[in-house]
């Protein structure tokens, strides 16, 4: 069963001058962890605001757990939890007051659903009398997640929860999401970090308001059209400049320790030819091997 359905959703701003969401359709299954992967300005936040009934689409329709986001907006609001990208709790209420407030607004109590948030809340409980505005970024994030969960929503919307968060905290946050998923909560999460994509059941790659691809991480990777090489030398900067002038280079860019390289014309000699070209240009200690694409490679391929 689908928890979220979007059909041909479009949204423009500034009297049609800015097309934020361009005819997007996809669905999310019950209990699924679906990732919207894309940079700032891709249209992720507009989609979240449409699905949480905070924004009307110009065209198309969408539903959450069978409720239409326009006609049945009140029903939708009762069953979704939303953590916006911008911190939106009451800065002048304490941690505890914020949590009680959100529980009360949704007609429940903190005690009733405490099990769901316990693991996260214990980390901020020592500061429960501190005003939310005085919390650090990591603590605000945890409090916002608690407040989005306190009414035991069926669907959780998380808009860039890990932006600006370091690699260790990001990993912990995703482990937390996996455990929430075990509680049968459907999760739609957005991120600009490509490496987080592989932690989702399915991902939608999104850019300029358009959905470029929508599949499991594995299938997305398998759909990469070219053979991809990883190459390095003792001077990667020179290597990059030389490869950009090479006539058979389709794409070349830095990817961690290596450069990633694909050819316009891929044949048995491509690899030897490029190595010879690079040696003539004065590159030393060249190492080249076939490499598996990452989600980042897929994204770059799709937008080029």
């Amino acid at each position: 069963m689908n928890s979220i359905i979007l059909e041909n959703i479009s949204k423009t701003y500034n009297k049609d001058a800015t097309l934020a969401v361009d005819d997007i359709s996809f669905s999310v299954n019950e209990g699924e962890l679906f990732g919207l992967i894309g940079p700032d300005g891709a249209g992720k936040t507009s989609l979240f605001r449409i699905l949480t009934t905070l924004l009307l689409p110009d065209k198309g329709r969408a539903e959450v757990c069978g409720f239409d986001v326009v006609k049945d907006y009140k029903s939708v609001r009762g069953i979704v939890g939303y953590m916006p990208g911008k911190f939106s709790l009451y800065q002048d209420l304490t941690v505890e007051e914020n949590l009680n407030f959100f529980a009360t607004v949704f007609g429940t109590t903190v005690e009733k659903n405490y099990d769901l948030i316990r693991e996260i809340y214990v980390q901020i409980e020592p500061f429960k009398n501190r005003r939310a505005g005085k919390l650090s970024g990591g603590m605000k994030q945890k409090l916002a997640l608690c407040c989005a969960l306190i009414h035991k929503p069926k669907v959780l919307f998380l808009d860039e929860p890990t932006t600006g968060v370091d690699a260790v905290s990001r990993r912990e946050f995703w482990e937390m999401l996996k455990r929430l998923q075990e509680q049968k909560i459907t999760i739609l999460v957005s991120t600009a970090y490509m490496d987080e994509a592989t932690l989702c059941d399915r991902i939608g790659l999104i850019q300029g308001g358009k959905m470029l691809s929508n599949d499991t991480p594995e299938n997305t990777l398998n759909a990469y059209p070219e053979k991809l090489y990883a190459i390095k030398s003792n001077n990667v900067h020179k290597l990059l400049n030389d490869l950009r002038t090479y006539e058979n280079t389709l794409q070349c860019y830095a990817s961690g320790e290596f450069l990633h390289l694909s050819f316009k014309d891929e044949n048995l000699n491509s690899q030897n030819e490029v190595v010879n070209f690079l040696k003539e240009k004065g590159n030393d200690e060249i190492e080249i091997k076939v490499s598996k694409p990452t989600i980042e490679d897929c994204f770059i391929r799709l937008i080029s």
């Binding site: 490509m194 961690g256 320790e257």
Partner: protein, 248 residues
Amino acid sequence: MINETVIKTENLTKRFGDFVAVDAITFEVYKGEIFGFLGANGAGKTTAMRMLSGLSKPTSGSATVAGIDVFKKPELIKKNIGYMSQRFSLYEDLTVMENIRFYGGIYGLTDKQIKEKSEEVIDQLQMKNEMKKLVHDIPLGWKQKLALSVAIIHEPKVVFLDEPTGGVDPATRKQFWDMIYHTVDKGITVFVTTHYLDEAEYCNRISIMVDGRIDALGTPRELKERFSTTSMDDVFYKLARGAKRSDN
């Protein structure tokens, strides 16, 4: 070749009351390096950077940047460095051109120099059609490139980049790194923080801060060997997971 030192710290420390934000860090950065300054949220990176850029007075220890003592001449430091942060760099309600001229003026360039530099920057960024647009109306990737250009408009010895590439698509992020390479080619040393660990690989050397200290420093290859792993992610995770404090 003898490396010329551009940044040098010895037991550089900053306390806020009982809290030791930066705990006796000692390191050197050489001319023409891309130096990656990594660490978890709350490890002390920003405080250290603020001291190195003359914005915060150290509690103890010493530091020189571009040969200038940060204790004694914080104002002189500011003229000799560039600083770019994704959040605060440009004026959104000024045009592209106005931002360039404004920063040129702030850094004390002459009218003639400002004119030349403006043309150079617009040309390099290929923003001729956008130069009269408000910064508010240009894409984030262009803002980041423009912000770097104005941060080095006075040709400083070193430029500090504080998480310069957040939020953009990977292709734009790579273009920004191309610009960092060009910056280094001009002889400007680059000191950069990032949460993208693949970007750590593009640095000549990196340091990783944990709880106010520098717990590891070396080339990406050295650090991976030291922690017996092939991924920078693992190096970072092994170090930072033991942190007692986070930004909590």
